[in-house]
Amino acid sequence: MASSGVVPKQKWKSFTADQLRDYAKVSGDSNPIHLDPAAAKKAGLKGVIVHGMFIASGLEAWTLDFFQMQFPKSNRNIKKISTRFKAMTFPGENLLIEGEYRQGAGSTTEIDLKVTNEAGELKISSKVLVEN
């Protein structure tokens, strides 16, 4: 297994208001700032924002797919995920992923990922520890 490498910057996804409603139902997170424009404005936001954990779960799924492609023999067992929500993401914003990975302690790989928008604004930084 390669000890280190780069995750090249690449287009990822955007989110729609309908998807936020679907996510609220399945996750149980019905915070109105994700669903109700009036409630979002009352909280001082310019509109509804994407659930941070919606992005984080999508990023975990992406990480596992990436890991499977890079290291097909890996068990892909995620031991730890640390995510910082740096800026709000609005429906329709196109997001990109980039990052790097390195050998961690024992038989683990550490992956650092950044999610930005097309203007380069950092939305999420995430550190993932994967057991190989």
């Binding site: 399945v26 149980g28 909280a43 954990m53 799924a61 640390s82 910082r84």
Partner: protein, 126 residues
């Protein structure tokens, strides 16, 4: 601080996993994402309500999940949250309060995972 929620239980059924994975874009039906544990944040929301803090004025700042045992479909998880830290800062956006919760997740008394959640409570402009 030190305030604990009541214990709750959730069954990670095949149906729930299928629906969650479809929404977040995960194409593997055999395993659960570690972040599936976000479904069990209702104990944090219960504590917020008890503290009189409206969920609609909270932003998610940080989230950490650590796994000790594989989280698999079909398991019933018992979970409980604790309010562990409170930090208030004043800035251009007014007063912001950082609220930190830890949650533990057990299956048959065995610790499966733990999480730490940081919420930012926007108390409004000065």
């Amino acid at each position: 601080m030190g305030k604990k929620s009541s214990k709750k239980k959730f069954h990670f059924s095949q149906e729930w996993a299928k629906a969650f994975h479809k929404v977040v874009g995960f194409n593997n039906s055999d395993t659960l994402l570690l972040t599936s544990l976000t479904r069990l944040r209702d104990t944090e929301f219960d504590l917020l309500e008890e503290m009189g803090i409206p969920l609609g004025q909270c932003l998610h700042g940080e989230q950490e999940y650590e796994s000790f045992q594989s989280l698999t479909i079909g398991k019933e998880i018992e979970y409980c949250s604790e309010f562990t830290q409170f930090v208030e800062k004043k800035g251009a956006l007014g007063s912001m309060v950082f609220l930190i919760f830890t949650t533990t997740f057990h299956n048959k008394s065995q610790l499966m995972a733990k999480s730490q959640t940081t919420l930012v409570y926007l108390k409004g402009k000065k």
